[in-house]
Amino acid sequence: MPSVRPGPGPCVYALAFVTGSGKCGAGVHRSWRPAALVASVAVLVLLPLAALGQEEESVFTQLRVENEEGERVPVEGVLITVTTPDEAAVGQAETDTEGIVQIAVPGPGEYLVTVDAITLPAGVFLRDPSRTTLSVNVLPGQLGRALFALSPTPPVDAEGGVLGGRINFSGRALAQLTTEGLKLGLFLAMAAIGLSLIFGTTGLVNFAHGEMIGWGMLWAYFFNVYGFAGAFGFLSGLPPPFGGGVNLIFAIMIAALFGAGLGYAMDKIVFAPLRRRGVSLIAQLVVTIGISIFLRYVYLFAFGGVPRFYEDYTAQSGNEFFGLITITPKDLITGTLSLLILVAIGFVLNFTRIGKAMRAVSDNRDLAESSGIDVQKVIRFVWVSGGALAALGGAFLGLSEVVGFNTGFRFLLLIFAGVILGGLGTAYGALIGCLIVGIGIQVSTLFIPTELKNVGALAVLIVVLVIRPQGIMGRRERIG
């Protein structure tokens, strides 16, 4: 998914009904008066219209775009979908000749409104291609209005012209998508290392790993937005970094620390005792599922169903490299960082005592145990470092994508694809597999609709198992 934020500049709004948490830059309003003006006129014109449907709550949007003469014309035939925050469908309709859609909702509350970018006519673009979904708060007996900013020109700093639909093939697009994919792959790989090492040392496939990723993402968000005051209310009077949100960089560090803590807790409280009791791996696997579901719905409860963004570094314009690709500074930094971390992990695995111990345990647990390695300690270390890496990967993914309660689970499936492609239980295999999956997902948008890009990755998983079940790096003895 691209991570283009609207920068300051001409921004044509479909309709300036702004309620709910439509976030398309308050600053933009200030810098470009005409839009606000048009908006207020439109409000006056359409108020009576809105009043017609007062008996029932519904979601409303009108899509308009500026034509060459500077007139704002309605956009017809665009598919709008309304869902509840946990993605249960509510309704779907196309915009009419006035560019209007009104979809009844079952009651007041929070809803997600999605514009289907593929159905936008030629020459009409979303101002911000990543914001196809908005959250709308519908009050009792009222319309909830969603605002989608449309533009007659492709987004200025679009990375490869990603428009939510299929992307036209060009060398430039390919280069750009490969870069995006590499970044995604690096983040996935970082998050996957823990999964792979835990599997290697204990034989357990941890289905709660997605929630460990989400854990990092959500704590980074929490500290970035609410800071320490969010946790300790009495601090709220103090100046930042104590009173309000802390800078994202620190927030991510704290999140990684929390991730290590979660890994520690999961092994200490749950899995170490289960191993001691001699509970079968299959039963342990079902336990990871239970933990996964529990945590995911705790996240939903605490965070809500609407995807959000960090406070810092969301709107960055990219720098061009080699005249081919555009990378934002944040992507460059997080990508480089994850590459460095992965190299460091390779170093640790190959040259340090604990790393060698980890590989020895993965290779042959009993042999390792009898040669004096404290296997339980190694496993504890794997859980802690795996938890930290998952959290870090999650926090980075939150920066390049969205922060959501179930984002971690979505990524888990991609990580499974990567890890199986590379070879379950091999650290290097996980890295290579995830890179291939990341690049594959992004480049596949040249050929298939973007909403199906993850499906492609999961389908590859099944194909790999048919052709080469041990993966690229795996040994065939492990799989049977």
């Binding site: 042959n364 647990r365 009993d366 042999l367 009898s370 040669s371 040994r475 003895e477 492990r478 049977g480």
Partner: protein, 299 residues
């Protein structure tokens, strides 16, 4: 099938004592079989013939590749290359269940009694060609009920012969290690095998049961069933086997009747060479055992 055990010993006694020697009536012929794990060549057998109707022991020091060889022969592992003929049929790359249906049935070093099934169900599982094992026929008891009672009768007879009839309805999980070995052997007989492959049949068996197990193995030969077994205990090998095959480092280094093996130089080197250089300390021995068990479990 040969009816008299003594006559079967005769042809073998005249054979030269050399690896890969051809037998008068082989039931199993192996050619150029090789299996490598990464860089380690676990099995590299040029030629081996197993004589029909006799008991052949497969011995060798730890890590000689005996169990891997067994797995390759029984289809539980597939060789990198190699050629196997079982009773006239080429069985390269055959699945374990195909081999079992053709009459080659194996047991395992670590017993695989089906703990949550009663002993009698364990036994009945062994019978071949059961109509009721087909999904749609299983739905209609009359289609398999008669066969089932025949199988049950045969199972009861075998259990009586193995002196396990009193445990008939117990869960197999309640049996002792030795009893499980007995059950496994009896169960494999339900499949009416021509060749039984026993992987360390005496390992972990209470000495009191050893003699009984040995008798059962000998009885297999009397019943005309060919037996091949892996064993560590040289006393056992001397006691029951008609022919001994020695493996070391994946290769077959010697063959001959049991009494010949003790004097074979290659065998002494293979066994004692290891022990002379560095006596296996207890810890290493245990680690190897654990490794063997682990790889067994993984398969």
């Amino acid at each position: 099938m040969l009816d008299d055990a003594t006559t079967t010993d005769q042809p073998l006694s005249r054979l030269p004592w050399e690896p890969g020697v051809s037998k008068p009536d082989p039931i199993l012929v192996v050619d150029g079989m090789r299996r490598a794990f990464g860089g380690l060549v676990a099995v590299d057998v040029d030629h081996l013939e197993v004589q029909r109707g006799v008991i052949t022991a497969l011995i060798g020091p730890n890590g000689a590749g005996k169990t891997t060889f067994f797995n390759l022969l029984t289809g539980f592992d597939s060789p990198d290359r190699g050629h196997v003929v079982f009773d006239g049929d080429t069985i390269d790359k055959a699945n374990p269940h195909n081999l079992a249906q053709r009459g080659m049935v194996r047991t395992f070093q670590l017993t695989k009694a089906l703990t949550k099934l009663p002993v009698i169900e364990n036994m009945k599982l062994g019978a071949k060609n059961q109509a009721g094992e087909r999904f749609f026929k299983a739905l209609f008891t009359p289609l398999w009920g008669k066969q089932e009672s025949e199988i049950e009768q045969r199972a009861d007879e075998l259990l009586t012969r193995f002196k396990m009839d009193h445990m008939r309805d117990e869960y197999a999980g309640t049996l002792s290690g030795g009893q499980r070995k007995l059950l496994e052997m009896a169960r494999s007989l339900m499949a009416e095998p021509r060749l039984v492959m026993l992987d360390e049949p005496m390992a972990g068996v209470n000495p009191a049961l050893t003699q009984s197990l040995l008798e059962h193995v000998k009885n297999l030969r009397e019943a005309g069933i060919t037996v091949m077994f892996v064993e560590h205990d040289m006393d056992v090998v001397r006691d029951i086997s008609d022919w001994v095959v020695v493996m070391a480092e994946g290769r077959i280094i010697a063959e001959g009747p049991p009494e010949s093996i003790g004097q074979n130089k290659a065998v002494i080197d293979a066994y004692l060479g290891v022990h002379h250089d560095a006596a296996l300390d207890l810890e290493e021995e245990e680690a190897r055992l654990a490794e063997a068990q682990r790889s067994e479990e993984e398969e």
